[in-house]
Structure formats: structure tokens, C-alpha cells
Amino acid sequence: MTTLTRREFLKTSGALVVSFAAPPLTGALAQVAGGKPALVPTELDSWIAVLPDGRVQAFFGKMDMGQGLEVVIAQIVADELDVACDKVDVLMGDTGTSCNQGGASGSTGVSNGGRLLRSAAAEARRLLLESGSKRLGVPAEQLRVEEGIILSQDGRKVAYSELVGGKYFHHPVEWNKQVGNAMDIKVRAKPKTPQEYRVVGKSFARRDVAWKVYGTDRFVTDVRVKGMLHARVIRPPRAACKVRGVDEASIRSIRGARVVREKDFVAVVAPREWDAVRAAQMLKVDWHALDGAFPAMDSLHEHIRSAKVVKREEPVKKGDLAAAFSAPGVRIVEAQYEWPFQSHASMGPGCAVADAKADRCTVWTGSQKPHFVRDGVAKLLGMAPEKVRAIWVAGPGSYGRNDAGDAALDAAFLSKAAGKPVRVQGMRADGTAWDPKGPACVHRARAAIDASGKVIGYEFVAKGFSRQHIATNESDPADSLVGQATGIPAKGTQIFGVPAESYGFENKLLAWETIAPLVENCSPLRTAHMRDPVGPEIHFGAEQFIDELAAAVGEDPVAFRLRYLTDPRHQAVVKAAAEKAGWQARNSSERTMKGRGIAFAERNGTAVAAVAEVEVERSTGRIWARRVVVAHDCGLVINPQGLRYTIEGNVVQGISRAVYEQVRFDRDAVSSVDWASYPILEMQDAPAAIEVVLINRPEVAPSGAGEPTMRVIPAAVANAFFDATGVRLRKAPLNAERVKAALSRA
């Protein structure tokens, strides 16, 4: 078999040519003759193709952000179709070749995205068997398939490629009329049962590793289009700024550089990138600034506590809480937990290239939701969505709605204004100070414990900035900086969340409250989804509070959780993590500056527990999470190695967010502008060991793994810190300054 490199493959398939001229829309199936049906969810041909050489193409409307989803989808399709895994190519993230399955979102790549592709592959196999049955004159039930060859019991055979290679299926499937993550199809074929899987469950290697290690293919930052200009957008020096004037003469000395301005949106474009960078530094803009748009950083959580509640919801409410808290003889335990604003701070600032013509536009984007980029660009430029093509190219890291979404709309806007293709990339501050943020919040927890030590009342109220001041995607310019700067006001959605667990406290309230954003439009503290939205934020509080309750009744934290968790899968991960970690109940009054802590949570069907072992240095305030053990149950495991590495990344990013990360700001502006002012975990502080226990449940449909582990790490570390020192740190991040201060008070 000939193995094509990724670039050769893309060249062959025509999906993405090396020169980055926009590929023809029919390109993905160029080898296939016959009329191509419209790219709509109701056509089987929108999901799957068998090429004349027997290779299979799966058209996927979600994206692999580097956690191995691409090969997992290939495994699922290969299993259903009975072809070898390396015969399946997964084409991701091009709106010209895939339907809007929501992009990378909510850890639904396998659960939703994979389910749909599984149905499509199963239906394709059914049709191929039907066709093979006719060709061979043998009933379909008496045929089997091996490596894409249909075989009869008497040894006759016909290959898939002979049956459909070169043709489209032209076969309708039933679409559930949903767009995005919920998109699904219904087919007549019955997918295989887990007992029949041969490819699923094995650790196939990822397909994006080699080119990243050898540098043989391109990131979105490397896309170049003939005649393109380089652009830099000038974000305001403060929040809530208006442009009074721009001194275009201030960049006259730079050949070819010019200003693009529309209301409060200012950018420079130049043929050479370095000239665009210099022009952005030199350009004199007269800003009309509002003083004191933000509260003092030290009083952020006081602001949240006292701010008017805009929206409140009580997703879990049972029993009689008031009665429980006023029952005679109860002991009340109360605590509050605080979490800062956090930045995606992706490795590279957002980047996009756009080529806007009068009646159409192509955008190369690193956004994890290219279909929504298409919609947003169409609205911004006043075009029909089908006139815009968004092509995802691997970007410099993506963990939600980061600055890549703004870059895509910036590029489209600037290309239209400049009349040429435009590449825009931010400088570091654009990726740290100006990306949408994870929301700051305060959680109030309260419990009533009766004389026997039983928790009879439990209340947890999360209060903070909405997790969606701007939407989770960029499909509406109102949710972009260029849209807001040019006069489209932010819409904002009020939403937060509550702990996800199954603690069976008889009287229980889990509620959330949101408050108004600090600045309505063009705010560097606007909030949006960041990896496991509000998960680490909420469970940092909720899972520390569970530990505090265990301590209040003098019970071991593992035993306490097992006593109250009601879902057997939840109990199982707690037990598995404790067992792997060698957890032993002990009297925690001995403080050795070494400790271990556990935390548990659920996330959309995935149960995860982590045990962190930490060492604390009193003199420096350093916390080192030396060893982290994770037990993870996301139902059926498709690729164990990929899953382990995805969990490892979550552990390290989770420690980073728990211990180091907070967006700093003063009364006027965000002052976290680079890696010095927004530190993250570095190599010296990486764990010595991360051990993962995978609980495989083939009978349970797979749920997500891209995010769940993130939510248990901060509390596991904080609980371990308590175990080590006897001191509770209820304010994140648990940085050296805070640790030293807390230990000196203790």
C-alpha cells in the first residue's frame, strides 16, 4: 500500500492545495464521476465516499484540536465499513466539504460527531452489501466483508470500489433538523454492537503528530495567498475606548503601510509583515478613554458578591432546605470560594487569512468552529452564507472561543476594506489581554449537619459573570470585537452552571446567579467558553467544600464521598482513583508539607476522579503536584492511548489554572499582556508522574474526554494542600504569594 503524506493526500484529494488558492468545491470527490448531490445533511454523500481505489473519505464537521479525534473517527468509520483503519481519510473543518456539526465543542467529538459518522458508515455498508448481493446473486445475509471486499461463502467476491467507487450513493438519510453539536441522522442500517468491533478499542497512532514534529505541513499562520497584505489590528489601550482621530501621517515613513479605520476599529495593512508590525507600533491614535471602567482588582470578588443578580436558576432543588438548616441541634458549615478571570493564552495569537471579493469570500481560520466563522463572515460582509467558504487549518492552540474567532472576522473585514487578500495575526497582548476570558466568580456553600454527623441540608450557589457575555462561536458579528467596534452592540447571554455530581443529600439546592459585565462592548474582560466552561471554576469550590464537610464530621474524604454518591459509576471512579493512588485513611492532624487530596465530578456522562499528591515549600510558597492519579469513565473507550494523553493534557493545564493563572487588571485596562504577566505552568513544575486508570464500559455509548478531567484538578490540588498544611486556600490561583501569606497566618 502506498502511504501518502498528509500534504500529498490533500493535494490528491484537492481538499487543500499547497499554494492555498481556494480549492474547487467539488474537489473532495474529484475522482468520483457523476453529479454531486448538494452538501446537505440529508444526503449520505455528504458524510461518506468510497473512491475508485477503495479508500474511504469521511467528511467531518468537527475538528481535532490535537487530542486525537481524527484517527478516532477513522476507527469508528473503519469498523462500521469493514475496511482497514488506514484506508479511511477524515476530512475536517472545510465548509466546502462538511456539514455544520458544531466544530470542536463541548467534548462532543466522539459522542455526537462520531455517532453520526457511525450511522453514515453503517448505512453505506448496508447499501454496498445490497448492491453486492445483486452483483453476486447471493442474499445479503450470506455475505461478509473483509477489508472492503464483499465475500460469499463459495468464495466469490466484489470490492466496494467496484460497486460504488466512481459513483455517488444518491441516498437520502433522515436528518434531525438540528445544526451544530446536536446534528444527527437516522438510517435504516443497524450499527454494529461493541462485541463486533475490531478497530475501535485499539491505540492507533494519531495522524497529525509526524508533520508537527518534522514541520512538513502548515499551520494557519503559514497560509499565504498570492498578493496578500499583512495586517495588525490596534486594540484600544484601555477598556471602553472610542477613537477620536487617527494620525495617518505617523506611519508615512513605512512604505506601503496604510490605515484601515471604521468607527472604533483601527488596523494597519502593509505588504510586508514586519512593516505591519512596525506601523502598528508607530501609529498615533487619539483615544477617548473612560476612566475606571473596572473595579480595583483586589475588590473583584467583593464586586461580584455585591453586584445585582441579573439571572438566577436553581437546576437542583429538593427537600426542605429551610427546615434542614433550622432543625434543632444542627451544625452549620459555611465557606466561600473565589476564582479569577482566566485567559485562553493560546501558544500563538489568533491568526486568519481572508480573500474577500465583491460577491464571495474565502477564509482560512484556526477557529475550532469554521462553519460558524462562515456564518459570521457572511453577516459581517453582507453576503449569503453559501458565498463564504471557511477552511480550518490547524491553529496555535484552541480551548474554546479564543482570539482565533476575532482574527477570522478581522481578516474578512480588512480584506474587503483593502480590496486584497489579508493575513492578520495578533501580537502577544492580543492573545492574552484581548482574548475572551473565562469568568471570575464566587461560590457560596453551606451545609447542615445533624447530631449523628449526617449532612441533612446542602446548598451551593455559584455567582459570577456569565460564561457567555459573547457567544460560544463567532457566527454573529455582535459577538466579535470588529463587530462591536464598528457599532454592533453585544447581545450577551446570561448563563452559568452548578456542580455535576450525585451526592444524595436529602435537602439540596444547587443554584447559579449571573451579574452584568463590567464593560458592555469591546471589553478585554468579556467572557466566553474556555476549556470546560465553568467546570474548574465551580468544582474548585464544590469539591473543596465536600472535603470540608468530611473534615467537619471527622471522616476520610474518600469514605465520605462514597457514603453520599448515589451513582455507581461515580462511586467506581472514586474507588479506582483512591486504589491506584494507594489512598489510606489517616489522621490529618500531622502536617508534613506533603499531602494528597481527591476530587470528583461528572460532565455530560463522563465520571472522573483525581488524586493529587503535592509538596509544599514553606520558604518559597511553591506547590508541586508531584503525582496525579486520574480514574476516568467515559463509557466505551475507542483509542486508549489517545485518551490517556488527552487526560494528561487536562491534568497539566488544570494544575496551571489552579496554581498560576489569573488575568490581572487595573481600573482601566487588562495588565496581563504576556507570559510574564500571565504565568502558566512550566517544566520545573510539571508532575513527575500522571497515572490514568481507564474504566472501559463497552455497553455505554462514549461520552466526552476533551474537558472533564479539567474540572477535578483544581480541587484535588487544593484538598492536597490542606492535607499537607492544615490550611484551606479558598481563592484561586494557589500561587506562591498566596501560599506564603496563608502559611504565615497559620
Binding site: T5, M65, G66, Q67, G68, A205, R206, D208, V209, A210, K212, V213, Y214, G215, T216, R218, F219, T221, D222, R272, E273, W274, V277, A345, S346, M347, G348, P349, A394, G395, P396, G397, S398, Y399, Q425, M427, R428, Q641, G642, Y645, E648, G649, N650, V651, V652, Q653, G654, S656, D674, W675, A676, I680, L681, E682, M683, Q684, A686, A688, A689, I690
Partner: protein, 154 residues
């Protein structure tokens, strides 16, 4: 604009640019060598790392004039799929990168360091790699890969 001559990955090149323009822009835009990446422009993350006469440098802050007459090596010059550097082979075997944007810096920095100290301990490696950033959190996999490469180099 003045012209600067130097060698990149065994090829002699010449770039016309302002002397203060960072080498990174010359490599990427004038020479089409995309593996050094722009991450911060402040020498804080390492994504732009190349070797200058064998020493790792941050090309996002090094003026192109400083490369004049010297030898620059990029990731592609370090190794290829056919002739991989042991670190690259180990990175593939350990499936290290996630988004992959930072990997250039880690490989280039570790390659230069292992030349000086092939038997570096875990603690020495951690110190030597200080100042590099990886946002996806692949640090533990990076250490695994380097140790695998060390075993091969030994």
C-alpha cells in the same frame, strides 16, 4: 535596505531587510521557512527557536543583522522523516504534540542541550527547558520523549 548573507539549513541565503528586523520574519516571510513560529515576540515562549552556530536562540528578538555570516539551523535542518533527529523520532513514538505549535521550541532547545549534556538527569532537563511554554500541557510526554531519545543517544 541592506542585505544580509547567512547559511540556513545548509543553504546560503541573502535577505534584504532593516537590520533590526527580527530573524524570525526573514526566515518565515523572505525564505519561506515556517517552522519557527511567532508565539510572543518577546523571547518568553520559545516557539521561534532556531540554532545560531549550534546555540539555541529566540529568532523573534534576534535582529537579522546578528545572523550575518553565521549558520542558522531550523527544525527541518535538524532532521527529516527519512533522517530524523533522535528527538524527533522519539516525539513521534511518544505522540507528544497536541496543537503542536510549541514543539519547534522544545525540540530545538532540547537538541542543543543534549549535545552538551547527553546524560542529563530529570532535574537538569527540567531546568534546561525552563522558559519554554506549552499550553496544551504535554510536558510529561515531552520528558518521556527526551528520555527515550537519551536512551538512543547513549
Amino acid at each position: 535596505m541592506p542585505s544580509f548573507r547567512f547559511t540556513v539549513d545548509g543553504r546560503r541565503v541573502s535577505v534584504n531587510a532593516e537590520p533590526e528586523m527580527p530573524l524570525l520574519y526573514a526566515l518565515r516571510n523572505d525564505l519561506g521557512l515556517d517552522n519557527p513560529h511567532f508565539g510572543c515576540g518577546l523571547a518568553q515562549c520559545g516557539a521561534c527557536t532556531v540554532h545560531l552556530d549550534g546555540e539555541p536562540v529566540r529568532s523573534c528578538v534576534l535582529p537579522v543583522s546578528a545572523a550575518s555570516g553565521r549558520t542558522v539551523t531550523t527544525l527541518k535542518g535538524l532532521g527529516t522523516p527519512d533522517k530524523p533527529h533522535p528527538l524527533q523520532a522519539a516525539y513521534v513514538e511518544e505522540q507528544v504534540p497536541q496543537c503542536g505549535y510549541c514543539i519547534n521550541g522544545w525540540v530545538m532547545t532540547a537538541a542543543a542541550y543534549l549535545k552538551k549534556n547527553p546524560k542529563a538527569s530529570d532535574a537538569q532537563l527540567r531546568d534546561a527547558l525552563a522558559g519554554l511554554k506549552c499550553r496544551c500541557g504535554t510536558h510529561v510526554a515531552i520528558l518521556r520523549a527526551i528520555k527515550r531519545a537519551q536512551a538512543r543517544l547513549a
